[in-house]
């Protein structure tokens, strides 16, 4: 891999490649150390953290769907304090040179600010604000579907941290550009999209929903065209950089997101299937750059020909 060609500064977060492991699909990065070289990962985005430990939803939490999967984990995580005390030091030990982005959500605007302040520490290179989890009542999609609430959360986070702030948007809205502009105006340094699309599966034998939480978030290749379309729309509407994700399984997929206007990408559900996916996608992008004769990956960003 030619790291000169791939090195990316995303909203001030310095990465060896433009490919990150998406929140909730990459653990804290260290879970995958047997399968890939963590040093070759652009950035690790942590599992969603919350003010207190959460055990998540009951019942079935993951299910295969055509071209992807549904999940309703419900933000299970050990809580911010255990993360800072026990997990972050391990991450920094195993992956000293890899950018680490902490994803978090909270139930109130004040708690979003508190979380941002707690994460404003060495070893965290940026934060990703989750206002789009479809699987929990508090903290998440409530803020992600109302532009004023999204702006309030963004302001509270910005006020409490010096780290680059990425706000992760929900696709479960009528016009995603409204949300994107609201968080840009409120001071977000970057936007990540898309989080999962709300979906449902019914078991026709039992006539019950398959998932314990009735509905869940759809991810995987099935959502990719929607994600590419939304990245393209948001790229027209805002000036801040975009982290594109949703159904990426290979370098070709990633290049689509870059052409649509994303400055970096994240691999999500595909990590579950191929635990080396984050590095393989970066290698694929590099091979594409070589093949088309480009000197740097940034030359692709927003270059879709309309």
């Amino acid at each position: 891999m030619n790291f000169e060609r791939l090195a990316t500064d995303f909203a001030g977060i310095k990465m060896k490649t433009p490919v990150m492991g998406a929140s909730g699909t990459f653990g804290f990065g260290i879970e995958y150390k047997d399968f890939l070289n963590l040093g070759d990962v652009g950035a690790i985005i942590s599992k969603g953290l919350t003010p207190l430990p959460r055990s998540g939803n009951n019942g079935v939490r993951v299910a295969e769907t055509p071209g992807g999967m549904l999940n309703c984990i419900g933000l299970e995580n050990p809580g911010i304090d255990v993360f800072l005390r026990d997990i972050l030091p391990k991450v920094r030990q195993e992956a000293p040179d890899t950018a680490f982005i902490a994803n978090f959500s909270a139930g109130t605007v004040e708690d979003y600010g508190m979380m941002a302040a707690k994460l404003d520490v060495d070893g965290v290179d940026g934060v990703e604000v989750n206002i789009s989890c479809p699987n929990v009542k508090e903290g998440g999609i409530v803020f992600g579907t109302d532009p004023r609430a999204a702006a309030a959360v963004t302001e509270a986070v910005k006020k409490n941290t010096k780290k680059p702030v990425i706000v992760k948007l929900s696709p479960n809205v009528t016009d995603i550009t409204v949300m994107a502009k609201a968080v840009e105006e409120a001071g977000a340094d970057a936007i990540a999209l898309i989080n999962t699309l709300t979906g449902m599966v019914i078991d026709i034998r039992t006539r019950r929903p398959l998932l314990g939480n009735i509905t869940g978030g759809l991810s995987g290749p099935a959502v990719k065209p929607i994600a590419v379309r939304m990245v393209w729309q948001v790229a027209q509407a805002v000036k801040i950089p975009i982290l594109g994700l949703g159904g990426i399984t290979c370098g070709e997929d990633a290049v689509e997101f870059l052409l649509a206007g994303a400055s970096a990408v994240a691999v999500g559900a595909e990590n579950f299937v191929h635990p080396d996916a984050v590095v393989r996608v970066a290698e694929d992008i590099d091979a594409y750059l070589e093949a088309v004769g480009l000197k740097h990956v940034s030359e692709l960003v927003g270059q879709v020909r309309i």
């Binding site: 699909t25 995958y32 399968f35 993951v62 295969e64 999940n71 299970e76 995987g220 635990p275 080396d276």
Partner: protein, 264 residues
């Protein structure tokens, strides 16, 4: 733990809906321990996620693993249609497997292995290991199946076991009823010191409670829908009865002490 491309050696029919597949995966075979599992994906197939399967047996010399699976959904239907020499992507070995404790066995005590339904599969390799560890003191096996059409399991188990006690739901072979119905007789005839179980949750719960009441060390192998198999997706977590910890079945298990899973 690694991802290895494996060639299918055989993929045969054992009953209406149960199949057995031998895969050539030397690196995984060299490491696999009883109770561990693999995540399998047909890279040319139509499903997205890998599917978890307990490792039924291992031939380290030949570099092969055996999977015995029930055709239950799209993923396993597709698997059943594959032929020898076709390639499969196999991730593993995953999880931790059974713990083998020898206390009480030197005095003539026995280990009781219990398998229910397709949960019998990982107990074959477990029985093989026990027979190797204690050749003079092979395990007793309680086989809980639906009907006589599933007696094929005995062929895999007979060399590694002292005795196989069969229960069938319809009484077409062995004792009519559930596995637990055979327990009074087994406990009266053998000095059971350890129990290891893999089967449906409802079956394991009753048996584990009985073991705990009797003060017999008991381990259960759990199964739950999972996407990743390595502790990342958190699809398969549960809260430990005693520790209160959030366990990941794929990563911390799939084998747990009974008292951590079921209420006494």
């Amino acid at each position: 733990m690694l991802v290895e491309s494996g060639s299918i050696v055989t993929n045969d029919i054992l009953s209406d809906d149960v199949r057995c597949m031998v895969i050539q995966v030397p690196s995984i075979a060299a490491e696999a321990e009883p109770g561990q599992f693999v995540m399998v994906k047909n890279e040319n197939g139509g499903t997205f996620l890998r599917r978890p399967f307990g490792i039924a047996d291992v031939d380290r010399e030949q570099g092969r693993i055996l999977l015995i699976y029930r055709v239950a959904g799209k993923g396993t239907q597709e698997l059943a249609g594959l032929e020898p020499t076709m390639e499969l992507s196999v991730e593993g070995p995953l999880g931790g497997g059974f713990r083998f404790e020898s206390d009480g066995l030197e005095a003539g005590g026995r280990t009781l292995l219990i398998g229910g339904g397709v949960g019998v599969a990982p107990m074959i390799y477990t029985a093989r290991r026990l027979a190797e560890l204690e050749p003079a003191n092979k395990p007793v096996f309680l086989l809980g199946i639906r009907n006589e059409g599933e007696l094929f399991w005995q062929d895999y188990l007979k060399d590694f076991t002292e005795e196989i006690i069969v229960t069938t739901n319809d009484g077409s072979a062995g004792i009519k009823g559930f596995a637990i119905d055979a327990m009074p007789e087994i406990l009266s005839r053998y000095d059971i010191r350890h129990i290891k179980i893999c089967g449906p949750t409802i079956m394991m719960e009753g048996l584990a409670k009985l073991a705990m009441e009797q003060g017999i060390e008991c381990q259960v192998s759990l199964e739950k829908r999972m996407a990743c198999g390595v502790g990342v997706c958190l699809g398969c977590t549960f809260e430990g009865m005693i520790s209160g910890k959030r366990w990941k079945i794929c990563h911390d298990g799939p084998v747990f002490p009974a008292e951590e899973v079921f209420e006494k």
